[in-house]
């Protein structure tokens, strides 16, 4: 029981307001003294008694409403939820696959860089090249694939943007 169920409300200065509020909020939260006070008030107050009757009727009517979800709505929802769950699962799997690939690529490129560096150093020594020269060659060879892929992706991105832009213009 909550002793402040009704006592902390601003509407309590008027006993009729307090009684009506108590009637409206009729529930397990009301304390025994509040219930006793209400019962005593209702005995000598016909207008609040009428309000209690009317409110009781309203609450009974509200509880009497029956709304049911159709079987089709339920099955459609279940289907949509299952599809979405599958979609999210696939996305999750793809995410983990990308993470694994990124880790593997990072690991491989680290080893690759070390091996290539040693290879370039050895070739530089054999060809009697200066250090900045073979280091520059290493950088060019090492970064070339990434630069090429970057250029290709940028070109493709520009192409897609142009295509979308023109499609919007046509519509």
């Amino acid at each position: 029981m909550n002793p402040d169920f009704i006592n902390n409300d601003a509407m309590n200065s008027d006993p009729h307001q307090r009684a009506r509020l108590l009637i409206s909020l009729s529930g397990p939260e009301a304390s025994n003294p509040e219930r006793s006070w209400l019962a005593a008030h209702l005995e000598f107050c016909p207008s609040c008694r009428e309000f209690a009757d009317s409110t009781g009727q309203t609450i009974r009517s509200l509880r009497g409403f029956s709304i049911t979800a159709g079987a089709r709505l339920v099955s459609t929802t279940q289907l949509r939820v299952r599809q979405r769950a599958l979609d999210l699962q696939r996305r999750q799997e793809r995410f983990w696959m990308i993470c694994t690939c990124c880790t593997a690529v990072t690991f491989c490129s680290a080893i690759n860089a070390a091996v290539l560096w040693r290879g370039f150093a050895w070739m530089g020594q054999q060809a009697r090249l200066s250090a900045p020269l073979w280091e520059g060659g290493f950088l060019v060879i090492y970064l070339m694939p990434a630069v090429l892929v970057g250029i290709l992706l940028l070109a493709r991105g520009t192409f897609l943007a142009d295509y979308n832009g023109s499609s919007q213009d046509w519509s």
Binding site: G27, T55, G64, F65, S66, A69, T76, R82
Partner: protein, 198 residues
């Protein structure tokens, strides 16, 4: 607290934790079960909130999709229904905000011309059924004219049997506001009940 009450409280807590674990796993069987279990309660809540069957059915589906997507946010410490209704409510409000900056109040104005589609339940005798039906019609008519926030509070209190604190959690309103909405909602419906009696 006696032993039986303890048992029920512990069983409910176990059930909520089970739901929370299942939602984290995105278990489709659990979701199927939850959709079936809460179908009527959720639809009724959305219908009270929106006042339109088609809109409520759309939100019904979207609510379960959101439950699937954000299931990991449910901690199992509160009632699942409270969390579910909060999600449904936020969806409705987000949708309203997307269309135009508004609160739930705007739904009451929008619904003014739309019948509040609430069928009546079957009653024991034909006379009682007629009286009850007539009264339900009147209350339905009254529902069209009261604020969506009042409708929502009345449903959560008298249909869902939620405590005032739970209603405050779902609606995000202070306790005093919840009390006031219930009181004002019932007072506003009073004339419609009297109309049915005459």
């Amino acid at each position: 607290m006696n032993a039986t009450a303890c048992y029920f409280v512990s069983a409910m807590a176990d059930e909520n934790s089970e739901i929370a674990r299942g939602l984290r796993r995105r278990d489709p069987d659990l979701l199927d079960h939850l959709i079936e279990k809460y179908q009527h309660r959720l639809l009724r809540y959305l219908l009270y909130l929106t006042g339109r069957r088609e809109m409520a059915e759309d939100f019904f589906q979207e609510t379960w999709i959101r439950v699937l997507e954000r299931g990991s946010q449910y901690d199992g410490r509160h009632e699942f229904s409270t969390w579910l209704f909060t999600i449904a409510r936020n969806l409705v409000i987000d949708d309203l905000r997307r269309k135009r900056p508004a609160s739930l109040d705007s739904l009451a104005d929008e619904d003014a011309a739309v019948p509040f589609d609430l069928p009546a339940t079957g009653q024991p005798s034909a006379f009682d059924a007629t009286v009850q039906h007539e009264q339900n019609e009147q209350i339905s008519a009254g529902m069209q004219h009261i604020s969506a926030e009042y409708r929502e509070s009345l449903l959560l209190r008298f249909h869902e049997g939620m405590s005032l604190e739970e209603i405050a959690t779902v609606t995000g309103a202070p306790l005093g506001t919840v009390k006031s909405r219930i009181y004002r909602g019932l007072t506003a419906l009073g004339p419609w009940v009297k109309g049915a009696r005459l």
